[in-house]
């Protein structure tokens, strides 16, 4: 047995190290190391609550709006303010813009380039995939980047800029949308739909959204037009490499729910465990620091009472990441978890067949590109230019609030306590904190640590390609993870 250290692990957001014990031709055990600490939770203590809106988006350049939305919700919860309908729809549009751009970036820039590696040269599918997805050289990124940039003109209109907008407020948005701007955004969405339908799917968004089982997906692949789309290329590779057998964690999924509009969420809140949907008990969340480089104060704490005190000498520590647990158990978050909890029939069918794995995580992400683009078309139609976009409310001197939402890569929560008009405590659990957590007091490995067990290692591989597929299938964001 040999401990192998893999890093720097790129095409994830931020820095990542993975340590592997390899036995024979597979991974026997894994340790996931988040190697960087900045200390936003410490920075925020003693600040005016409203200043969170300027600091918190800067935790992350790829989930910046998600951080902003979570902070706005935590402040809104503390104030007791509700958004007007326009505010809600505007925030949904801005957030969806980021989340979908992230899904696209992940697929085209972070995930697919691994299949263009030399190690796959002998595979029957290799040549067209390498032409399309080789990092920096393939034809796909050159098509995707302009489409993505054009799609993000929505940000220019509705949020001023991306990342790091201050347009999102607890009570709505700072930017009223005029009638002609509404048309501009609708046109922008039309162009994005065209890109998805011609390049990514080779089919209409409606047909993708309507796929309802693993068998239907197999049937869909029988068409030449579908098979030669980028989604088709992926499914073809996935079948050839059996990506549905790679990277299974605990199949225990969580989603906070996201995109509220008119009293309903586009994607619902819940937990999927032991093959059934359950209510999410927020009081059962704890952050364990047994294997983190953090000072320990008694037992694992609920984030309202969380403490963040870094200590690199902590014995048994091997990561800056804390280990969040739900009822002492490891959960997986992300697009797959979100669609499993929300009950999309294709995802339920795929998970029933093979659980949470590399293939199904990618399929869920691409499915969301179809589902959420269609929802964006509805939200922009619902914007009423002559009505209010923001409600205002003063902040009490003593309050607490929680802001829960779903970023592209999963469940993001902010827990805030205000005393004497200042931030007393601010605790953040990011999606990749859940997925890439270290072990806990019970020595339970985190979700990725579990998912890596059994990953095949080919002869002579220093950085096993299967490990790379598994890690990237989670679409990790390391700068959020530790923050």
């Amino acid at each position: 047995m040999s401990r192998r250290i893999v890093g720097p692990f790129n095409r994830v957001e931020g820095d990542l190290e993975v340590q592997l014990d390899i036995q024979g031709d597979q991974v026997a055990e894994a340790w996931v190391v988040s190697p960087m600490y900045r200390g936003f939770e410490q920075m925020l203590q003693g600040k005016q609550p409203v200043d969170a809106m300027s600091y918190v988006p800067r935790i992350c350049g790829i989930c910046s709006v998600a951080q902003s939305v979570a902070a706005a919700r935590a402040l809104a919860d503390a104030q007791g303010v509700l958004m007007p309908a326009n505010g809600e729809n505007a925030v949904n549009l801005i957030l969806a813009n980021e989340n979908l751009a992230d899904h696209l970036t992940h697929f085209y820039m972070f995930f697919m380039p691994d299949f263009a590696r030399d190690i796959y040269k002998a595979e029957a599918w290799y040549t067209p995939v390498a032409e399309r997805f080789t990092a920096m050289k393939g034809t796909a990124a050159k098509q995707m980047l302009p489409a993505r940039a054009q799609f993000m003109h929505l940000m220019g209109i509705m949020a001023g800029k991306w990342p790091h907008t201050l347009a999102i407020q607890p009570g709505g948005t700072t930017r009223t949308i005029k009638a002609e701007e509404k048309i501009r955004i609708m046109t922008c969405l039309y162009q994005f739909r065209t890109f998805l339908e011609t390049t990514l799917f080779g089919d209409s968004l409606e047909n993708i959204a309507a796929l309802s089982s693993a068998e239907e997906l197999d049937g869909w692949m029988q068409s030449d037009q579908h098979r030669s789309s980028d989604f088709g290329l992926f499914l073809n590779i996935s079948e050839a490499l059996s990506l549905h057998t790679l990277g299974r964690a605990s199949d225990h999924f969580m989603s906070y729910g996201v995109y509220p509009s008119n009293g309903e969420s586009l994607f619902s809140r819940g937990v999927w465990e032991n093959g059934e949907l359950q209510r999410l008990n927020l009081n059962a969340i704890r952050e364990d620091v047994s294997h983190s480089w953090m000072l320990k104060y008694g037992d694992a704490k609920h984030p309202f009472d969380g403490i963040t005190q870094p200590d690199p000498e902590m014995k048994d520590g091997y990561s800056w990441c804390k280990a969040p647990r739900l009822e002492n158990k490891v959960v997986e978050v992300g697009a797959l978890a979100r669609q499993q909890v929300n009950g999309h029939p294709l995802i339920r069918s795929l998970v029933a067949a093979s659980g949470g794995n590399v293939q199904n995580r990618v399929v869920a992400r691409l499915l969301e590109l179809a589902l959420v683009t269609m929802a964006m078309e509805r939200w922009i139609k619902a914007i009423r230019p002559n009505e209010a976009f923001c409600h205002l409310q003063s902040m009490p001197d003593e309050a607490e609030g929680v802001g829960l939402m779903e970023a592209a890569r999963g469940s993001l929560g902010h827990w805030l306590k205000i005393k004497q008009g200042k931030i007393y405590n601010y605790q953040i659990i990011a999606p990749t904190t859940w997925n890439f957590a270290p072990r806990d007091a019970q020595e339970q490995p985190g979700a990725l640590e579990q998912a890596l067990i059994g990953a095949p290692v080919r002869k002579g591989e220093s950085t096993p390609v299967a490990v790379q597929h598994i890690v990237r299938s989670f679409d990790p964001c390391m700068v959020c993870t530790v923050h």
């Binding site: 890093g7 790129n10 931020g14 820095d15 190697p35 200043d51 350049g61 509705m158 907008t165 948005t173």
Partner: protein, 338 residues
């Protein structure tokens, strides 16, 4: 430095930041980011978000540079240098190396013809140095507005240049792609940077230039709450009249800027912007009068003009300034044919 015939080599590292300057750069348009690099003859040796190489093959690239087997023309750092705790650099150990990132950056900087700080974090410390600066973050050649940082005030790169500070939180895609292209063409020297090391191409301008709220500014018709249409200088913390950048003439994501998005400029291209000493979205005042003057404006004149223009504010602007929708439109003047 060699160019034209051979490509310009570029290594991009990330440390104490959010990756947002790279993500912003992905929004480059006409041309897109990859075409921008190609057109400038830039060969990306490695970038953490964009390159194929992972793990050992990355370490091989870094080692080849240190061994002088691979020429390094441009080193870009995105994110602050993390020195803590207690100067150990352990707040960021480069994965796979068991070495503090600050040591890698230090050693690689000595090999680079040009060293570029991408974003305010890498330039001056930035948001990562906010609050009590828990990670002991600093910039490559600055700590806030003081020279020093990781490399020290006297540092000069292979081409005898100080660190080029493309400050901004985040950077505009074109601030980065165009500066890198200028460097690659051998068309960038000390005359092209300002007193804080920022490319003058964007830092010689003020965010105020091209602000669509100019009429409100002229008449001191001020916004009072988020979403109001008026000038945000008096109450909302906006420092666009003092901030060095071209955000309102070179727009973001098509047609945006902070001010166009309805929120104040927080001077994110400046050292120490992360700790303004007051809430970001409130203007500090003494006896009701805002502290902070428009750049190059004599105080007495500003006060005199402000009170004069306040007295002369048209009703239209007074009403619209404190509304989120235009209440009164400009009057149409009918011109009679004679």
């Amino acid at each position: 430095m060699p160019h034209q015939q051979t490509k310009t080599t570029l290594l991009w590292l990330q440390s104490g930041g959010c990756g947002g300057c790279t993500l912003s750069m992905l929004c480059a348009e006409s041309p897109d980011m990859i075409s921008s690099f190609e057109a400038a003859g830039i060969d990306l040796l490695w970038h953490p978000s964009l390159s194929e190489a992972t793990g050992e093959s990355v370490l091989d690239i870094l080692q080849s540079i240190l061994n002088d087997e691979l020429r390094l023309d441009i080193l870009c750092l995105e994110g602050s240098v993390l020195r803590g705790p207690n100067n150990t650099g352990k707040f960021h150990m480069l994965a796979g190396t068991n070495q503090p990132m600050m040591n890698w950056v230090d050693k690689l900087s000595a090999k680079a013809a040009y060293v570029v700080a991408v974003g305010t974090c890498a330039a001056y410390g930035g948001i990562t140095a906010g609050g009590g600066n828990p990670s002991d973050a600093c910039g490559l050649q600055y700590e806030g507005d003081r020279g020093g940082g990781l490399l020290g005030e006297s540092f000069r790169s292979g081409e005898q240049m100080p660190v080029i500070n493309i400050a901004g939180c985040p950077t505009h895609p074109k601030w980065v792609t165009e500066t890198l292209a200028q460097i690659s063409l051998g068309d960038f020297n000390e005359e092209h940077i300002d007193a804080l090391g920022r490319p003058r191409s964007y830092a010689d301008q003020l965010v105020h230039h091209g602000c669509p709220r100019n009429e409100y500014y002229e008449f001191k018709a001020s916004a009072e709450k988020p979403g109001d249409l008026g000038c945000m200088m008096e109450n909302m913390g906006c420092v666009g009249t003092q901030a060095h950048a071209d955000c309102n003439t070179r727009l973001w994501n098509g047609e945006g800027s902070c001010l166009r998005g309805g929120y104040p400029c927080v001077n994110c291209t400046a050292p120490n912007f992360e700790e303004p000493g007051h809430p970001f979205t409130e203007t500090p005042k003494i006896a009701g009068i805002p502290i902070g003057l428009p750049t190059d404006m004599p105080k007495a004149w500003f006060v005199a003009l402000a009170s004069l223009s306040k007295a002369a504010t048209p009703n239209r602007l007074r009403k619209n300034a404190i509304s989120d929708h235009v209440k009164i439109v400009p009057t149409i003047h009918h011109k009679r044919k004679s």
